[in-house]
Amino acid sequence: MIKIRDLNFALAPGFGLSVPRLDIPQGRVFAIIGPNGAGKTTLLNVLALFQESGAGSLEIMGKDAYDPRNKLFLRRSMSFVFSQPYLLNDTVYRNVALPLKLRGEPDEGRVAEMLELFKISAFKDRNANTLSQGERHRVTLARAFVTKPGLVLLDEPFSSLDARIKDTIMHDLRVIFKAAGTTVVLVTQDQGEALTLCDSMAVMKAGRILQHGSPQDIFARPASAEVADFVGVETILPGSVTGKEDNLCSVSAGGKTLEVIAGCAVGDSVLVCVRPEDVTVSKNPDAGSMRNHFGARIISVDPWRLEYKVGLDCGFSLMAAVTKQSVEGMGLKPGMAVFASFKATAAHLIKR
Amino acid sequence: MKNIRWMFPVISAALIFGCQAKNGPQNAVRLVTTTSVRDTGLLDVLSDAFQKDGKYTLKAVAVGSGQAMQLGKTGEADILWVHSPDDEKQFVEEGYGTDRTTFMYNDFVILGPAQDPAKVKGVKKAADAFKKIAAAKAPFISRGDKSGTHKKELRIWDAAKVKPAADKYIEAGQGMAATLTLADEKNAYALVDRSTYLSMKSKIGLVIVSEGDDALLNRYSLILVNPAKFPKVNAAGARAFFDFVLSKPAKEMVEKFGQDKYGKQLFFYDYAAK
């Protein structure tokens, strides 16, 4: 569906986009995530034919996207959804019908179908500006899908929504994406969105794609410290592999020995990545099944979303995510002595 | 509702183009004349009569004689009707015009405030009147626009061998009626052609303080702009107007003009009209 080769250009001095190769197959829901300024929106703009790139090649739906003759055809075969809903000061119905009107195509019930699908049929005769935020987003989405485009591009579409509305819409969208088989490219800063909606994703930073694969893959096995940092691995420890038995590596880090299942060789310099969700905090000195078990002192206990982040000092810094019940149950406080443990399979090594 | 809004400009466009067609290029004759001819109303009378048979459209533009000659010198006018003899002679000598025909006259009068601070009343010679005005340092409004009236006024100052005080001498830079209105406002002296004065008499407070001097005679001429020099000139149209003005019916119109309104004849024919 989308093939990029050698896309290179400079937007501003010191900032450029450089994508040697990217393929997005048809029907895939693809996320591009990264921090601000990573170039995600620029890449999306290139796909949307907003940005004149000039370098390399871009093929969309089998057509050369740089050829001006293809421009209108391609534009009419894709939809773009901005983070703000840009709606006409008109009824919901006419807003959703706009893409058809622009193409001179007849309605044939497509508008009604979309209103139904996005659950906004009740509003069809109301002025779009009178709706709530979530409802307006649904109108924007309905409008984007009414022509059943082959490709839908979304630029941080949920960034201005409340969490609850976001969850509802994302759930509905997952169903719709799967059913329609549309190719979707979604840009977001929120890893949660990527995990929930997408089949594959790319992590971008400073105009480059750092890693590309399934969300689960990237989250569990980030390829570099940068990626690890962005996808929420909060414990990244420099160390070196001191021993190996089958694929169980002994890594010396922070003055302690960690056991990690990984494909590294003895003597490798590595970074040990441990996700906070994979760290268990307990008062139990018994290691149980966890290969990595350390005595630790609590440095900080901070609320985070619906849980707590507990910062630990095991001789090295370790961050754990602990449920509210556990924190209250164990009475965790800074200064307390506890035990922290994680599985050898939960940790991940990045070669340095 | 929408449709009505679009109708308006379409209709007006049609009307304007219609007007244009009527004033078609080959029918238009450009007459450049003086403001005194227009302000008295004589121009309207002759213009209407000339255009009655619909053969020609008269585009009559009234400016000072100076500007009129300038328009003649660039070929913008087809025919001139002016009253500035020296300039006219030079105009013809330099080849810009032909068939200069002096055909009509009226006279100028010197107007002043009723109280007459310069004691001009009763003075017979225009030059003497001007001498007195300068001596009394009374305010004087001049046309200041190189028109025939202005040129006449300058000649009288020359003859009087005096110059009025600079702060008392105001150059209006406008037409005859406008200058007269200004003079009236400022209670000043001015040189005005009698016809314009009569046509505005009821509206102003100035009175005639001197008249009758030969130097105050004001002669009007017609000049055809030379088509050989300016091929774009409507020579046929100009000639048609020329012949019309010099015809008997026109003569009668001119001589009758103003009689019923002002009780006096304003313009006199000096030409054996055919």
């Binding site: 840009y86 | 400009p9 007006s12 304007i16 459209t57 660039t74 009236d184």
Partner: protein, 236 residues
């Protein structure tokens, strides 16, 4: 004071007396200015919208030019138009000097920058991403402009009102280009000047009152439409 009052009385009487010449003058004023405004709108609105929305190298210069054009002294426009239309000028073949079409031309040159500038700023008040969004929905560039203009139609109407106002009350340019020729190019403004200079104050006042009246009625009509649309917008 008294003669002003009597001037007004005579003036009003003149309007209602059905004086043919007065009506002809008023009619010509309306025709010329409305026609000129329509042409200026057809040029100025799309042009202003286009300048606002497109990126191009000399954009800042073009915007400055438009803004300068808005402040162009009309009488200077009149002078230049007259020179161009004169027999020695490059446009003499049009033969529009001393005709209503010449006056329309001068008024178009005066009104177009006004309408362009106002349309341009109305368009700039739209989020630029809105235009892009409409493009992404499958609009060609002109289609997208039309959709955007529809969204700001209240402001566009204000631009039309401003454009019309700038020409119906203009006197210098139409005097120079038209020549103030009786029953051919004499309009309310130039006729008022002439009558004032000749001291016919009652006639001048009559013409002046008609001019104010006409301007008021047309503005009233356009504002009425604008406010109706505004109300509809707010009610929704």
């Amino acid at each position: 004071m008294e003669f002003i009052v009597s001037g007004f009385q005579k003036g009003i009487a003149l309007i209602f007396s059905g004086n043919a010449e007065v009506y002809a003058i008023a009619r010509l004023s309306l025709l010329v200015s409305m026609f000129a405004t329509v042409i200026s709108v057809l040029i100025g609105v799309p042009l202003g919208a286009l300048i606002a929305v497109k990126k191009f190298p000399s954009k800042k210069i073009v915007i400055s030019l438009v803004n300068t054009g808005m402040g162009l002294p009309p009488v200077v426009v009149g002078l230049l138009v007259m020179l161009f239309l004169s027999r020695s000028g490059p446009l003499s073949f049009l033969e529009w000097l001393y005709t209503p079409m010449g006056m329309v031309l001068a008024q178009v040159i005066i009104a177009t920058p006004v309408i362009t500038g106002l349309s341009m700023s109305a368009m700039q008040s739209i989020d630029p991403k809105f235009y892009r969004q409409i493009l992404t929905l499958g609009a060609g560039e002109w289609q997208a402009l039309a959709v955007c203009l529809k969204e700001i139609k209240l402001s566009v109407l204000a631009a039309v009102i401003a454009g019309f106002g700038s020409v119906i009350s203009e006197v210098g340019a139409v005097m120079i280009v038209g020549g103030n020729i009786r029953s051919q190019t004499r309009v309310l403004t130039t006729a008022t000047v002439l009558q004032t200079q000749m001291g016919n104050y009652d006639m001048a006042i009559a013409l002046g009152l008609i001019l104010i009246g006409l301007t008021f009625i047309i503005n009233l009509a356009l504002t009425f439409i604008q406010q109706q649309k505004a109300q509809a917008y707010n009610a929704k």
